[in-house]
């Protein structure tokens, strides 16, 4: 049975109807058409579906949409200002941290959660902070370098 829920996503409120078993990932991608959040495994093992949930990076495939009511959700579509890319986005582009781009939205949000918590994160912190995000293309090096560049303040 569908139930109407209200979600706070990227600062806007969305009313939508969801089944009790629908995941937040499904509702973001399906109902709200926010397809920047990616689906890689649906079992919480790849991080492609990472969103910010009250500021923490979580796998949206493991959260029921109903549970997300009353929480602040940020997806990749909400990372940039209207006028300007987030420093992490600028750094990912500049440092070659993006190849196929499928892991990128999740990677960026995990990095954002990390830097919000640890603005001076070092290489080891960054590696640990991104451990749950699988990337099959890059070998992670340019991703870590991009985050380091943001820590250094190279992007505003």
């Amino acid at each position: 049975m569908k139930k109407t829920i209200s979600l706070d996503v990227n600062g806007a409120t969305y009313e939508t109807a969801a089944e009790p078993q629908d995941t937040l990932l499904d509702v973001l991608r399906g109902n709200l058409r926010l397809t920047g959040t990616k689906k890689g495994c649906e079992t919480g093992n790849c991080g492609a579906c990472t969103v910010l949930f009250d500021g923490n990076a979580v796998d949206s495939c493991l959260i029921l949409a109903l549970e997300a009511e009353g929480h602040k959700i940020i997806t990749i579509e909400g990372l940039a200002d209207a006028s300007k890319l987030h420093p992490l986005q600028q750094a990912f582009i500049k440092y070659g941290a993006i190849q196929c781009g499928y892991c990128t939205p999740g990677m960026l949000l995990s990095a954002k959660a990390l830097l919000d918590r640890l603005p001076r994160a070092n290489e080891e912190d960054i590696r640990k902070g991104l451990e749950g995000n699988l990337c099959r293309c890059t070998g992670y090096k340019q991703i870590v370098e991009a985050v380091e560049a943001v820590v250094r303040g190279e992007f505003k």
């Binding site: 790849c46 492609a48 997806t75 582009i93 070659g96 190849q99 196929c100 099959r136």
Partner: protein
């Protein structure tokens, strides 16, 4: 000094903004009004006869709009093998027999996913299970059950012919030392992060648009047309952004056909997307291999003869396997000089899911065996393994019978570069200290010369349109699968026409719009598509020069150049006009017809297998914990000869990604398959390297210029993976003192081997 303006620059990828903001659309992100969701019914048996299929209950379920099975008129075989139709062995859906667990037997389209899944459960299939074969050994046994009735011992003799040159027997007879070794490599999976997806929209009376996660849109168009009974160009394939490939999207899968057929049947757009379990169970994978190498050397360490026998677990159908089989021998001939060579390769049918090409196209299997054995030979001879390699590596200008002239080869330089970077000569030579280092070489083709599809088109085509505002549109069907080919092709166009990368718009990925290009496999986009783009740019430039030259009062157009956004007399910016003004001259002269250049590339007469070979050398440094058996790669160094390095940042990305995938191959990745059932079909149990597993990585570019490549460039996407695993396992040998002949080398293997050694 860089003589280029755009080539050689670490230009950020042109799709960076789209991908960083989440606005890049991948296939499953698309949706159309009235779209249905499709699902596939898969066989629960690895080998069985299908006695009957009853879909009546599924069809009666409210919300179900279409159901198809292999008994519908869709029995045309699906294949890239137009040139050798005897290799076509798989239908879009199984009809009378299933040959692997997970093989598709029916497909449904319904108003939503839940209804589609329920409908699958209402389809009744009666099976009669048959005995199966699940390993190479089982499959080739006398009187083994047959996967395909016509092939005794499960070998299709037309898959691969023996290849030889020289006289190996003579070579062995003249050798000072001969050794024979057996190696074994596992089945591993591409595991690109984006699962397969296909969205089809059929419009009567006979046009189909298919958005698909494919790396070869041109082949897919023909394959789908054939199965659906349409004319080839009634099918339009569009490749949205693609979430990785690594060879996993070079062959069509059931969803590509079924989406189209279901759309035709239901009159609605239909989307089918695999979940990760389907990827693990039923998508392609790398061939497991058993390799036997017999190699003879002189007292001085010169290779005199090599005889190779390879058995590959092909799974139930051919896929791209015949090419993989052929290439499994070829790699042995392009790295070291071999006067006498003999290769026998067998691809064996089993009741496992289909093995296809995967990054390196059997290069990693071949190199694991070859590079391990090189170290063994060096030890036998009491010779430094790097010295042994330096004595034998191919040099620029040498002729390799299986390929032709090697027009550029940076192996010697790369060996020297890497040895000095890791202080090879100063390394501790003692074995068994828990620390080890090793150096290995690789070679990889820059695009395949084979025309297995029997295409009448050039292998790569490109068109460039130019506008009076000084911008270009570049049309190419090259497939950016994440490797960055779109950006690289724009760099080539901009360089040749004296423009900036921002002046070029790339319009690709659409078979109804772009000139034919065979797509992304065999590391061909730089060499083949790049050359086509370069030819198109030259064609355009010629037209601009012809129109500009009278106005600039030069009689000969070779006095002109395209540079800094201008068409001008060489070296004299004053005597010129802007690029846009030159375009306007052509436009006027042609009465308003679009100003456009065309180019193609087909490597006729450019070697038998490939027009050029990419090379490189790697060094692995490892630490092995002797108590836990855990291997840590502490540093990995790679020097890569990819000819002219068109985009250093992108090439480094390919190198680092190859190191990551090779590291998984060496130490952790393996599909555990029990009687055809994949037991670790998820990212928790199938262990790919994460951020924490990666070593420090160092990448060097070795400068060569390949005369065949665009601006001298050759491959970089695949080759580097080839020598990663043997570098690591040879280093493990030096760290622990006993040798691993089978991948991957997991902690238990190390502890077990240690026991063997003691016992």
């Amino acid at each position: 000094m860089n003589k280029f303006s755009v080539i050689g620059q670490s230009v950020p990828r042109i799709d960076g903004w789209a991908k960083a903001t989440g606005s890049a659309m991948y296939t499953d992100d698309l949706s159309l009004p009235g779209m249905l969701i499709g699902k596939l019914l898969r066989s629960p048996h690895a080998h069985a006869r299908i006695l009957s299929i009853d879909v009546s209950k599924a069809l009666a379920l409210p919300g179900v709009k279409a159901v198809i099975t292999g008994n519908d008129p869709v029995t045309n075989k699906t294949t890239h093998w137009r040139m050798r139709p005897q290799l076509a062995d798989m239908a879009a859906l199984a009809s009378d027999r299933v040959r692997f667990l997970g093989e598709e037997v029916a497909a449904v389209a319904a108003v939503d996913e839940d209804t589609a899944i329920e409908a699958l459960s209402l389809i009744k299939v009666e099976y009669e299970p048959l005995p199966g074969v699940f390993t190479i050994e089982e499959a080739i046994a006398e009187n083994a059950p047959r996967v395909h009735d016509e092939f005794d011992r499960n070998i299709n003799p037309s898959v691969s012919l023996p290849v030889s040159y020289g006289d190996v027997e003579k070579g062995f007879a003249e050798s000072f030392h001969v050794r024979t070794d057996k190696f074994s490599t596992p089945t591993v999976i591409h595991a690109y992060m984006e699962p397969h997806s296909a969205l089809a929209s059929y419009e009567p009376p006979g046009k189909l648009t298919l958005w698909a996660s494919t790396a070869t849109p041109y082949y897919l168009k023909g394959d789908v047309a054939q199965v659906m009974g349409l004319r080839e160009s009634d099918v339009r394939v569009i490749k949205p952004y693609l979430g990785g490939n690594f060879g996993g999207r070079n062959v069509p899968f059931a969803l590509d056909f079924c989406a189209g057929l279901l759309s035709m049947r239901s009159g609605k757009p239909v989307k089918i997307t695999y979940d990760r379990k389907e990827e693990f169970n039923a998508a392609g994978r790398r061939h497991a291999a058993r390799l036997e190498l017999k190699t003879g050397v002189s007292k001085e360490g010169i290779l005199l003869a090599k005889e190779i026998s390879v058995y590959l677990d092909g799974g139930a159908y051919n896929g791209f396997g015949p090419t993989v089989t052929f290439l499994s021998g070829l790699y042995h001939t392009v790295v070291y000089r071999l006067p006498n060579y003999k290769f026998n390769g067998y691809r064996v049918y089993t009741n496992n899911p289909i093995a296809i090409g995967m990054r390196g196209f059997c290069g990693p299997q071949a190199h694991f065996a070859a590079e391990t054995q090189m170290d063994m030979i060096a030890e036998d001879l009491g010779m430094d393994p790097v010295e042994l390699r330096l004595k034998n590596v191919i040099k620029t200008g040498e002729i390799v019978p299986t390929v032709g002239v090697i027009k550029s080869c940076g192996l010697t330089e790369a060996l020297n570069k890497v040895s000095s970077a890791v202080n090879w000569s100063g390394r501790p030579k003692e074995k068994g200290t828990g620390k080890g280092m090793a150096i290995t070489c690789f070679g990889q083709m820059s695009g395949a010369n084979f025309n297995f599809y029997n295409t009448p088109y050039a292998y790569s085509g490109a068109e460039i349109r130019a506008y009076p505002d000084g911008t270009l549109t570049l049309f190419s069907l090259a497939a950016d699968v994440g490797q960055g080919s779109d950006t690289l092709l724009c760099q080539i166009a901009a360089e040749e026409l004296g423009l900036k990368i921002g002046d070029v718009r790339f319009i690709g990925n659409d078979t109804a719009v772009d000139p034919v290009d065979l797509g992304a496999y065999s590391s061909r986009q730089t060499m083949f598509s790049g050359n086509a783009v370069l030819a198109a740019a030259r064609d355009l430039k010629q037209q601009l020069f012809e129109a500009a030259s009278p106005k600039l009062e030069t009689s000969v157009i070779h006095e002109l150049e395209a540079r800094d956004g201008r068409i001008q007399v060489k070296g004299s910016a004053k005597r010129g006009m802007t690029f846009g003004e030159a375009v306007m001259c052509v436009l006027r002269a042609k009465g308003g017809k679009e100003v456009s250049g065309f180019g193609t590339y087909t490597p006729r007469g450019k070697g038998t297998a490939t027009p050029a070979v990419g090379y490189g050398v790697a060094a692995a440094e490892v630490e092995v914990n002797k108590e836990t058996g855990v291997t840590r790669v502490t540093r990995f160094t790679m020097a890569h000869d990819c000819g002219t390095n068109i985009n250093p940042m992108a090439v480094e990305g390919q190198v680092y990604g190859s190191i990551q995938m090779g590291l998984g191959y060496a130490l952790s990745e393996k599909l555990i398959i029990d009687k055809g059932r994949v037991m670790n079909a998820n990212f928790l149990d199938y262990k790919m390297p994460s951020t924490l597993d990666m070593p420090e990585m160092v990448s060097f570019a070795i400068d060569t210029v390949d005369p065949e490549g665009p601006f001298g460039a050759k491959e970089s996407g695949e080759g580097p993976i080839n020598c990663v695993a043997p570098a690591i396992t040879n280093a493990v040998y030096n760290a622990v003192g006993f040798r691993v002949m089978e991948l991957p080398v997991r902690p238990d293997d190390i502890l077990g081997l240690r026991k063997d050694k003691k016992g």
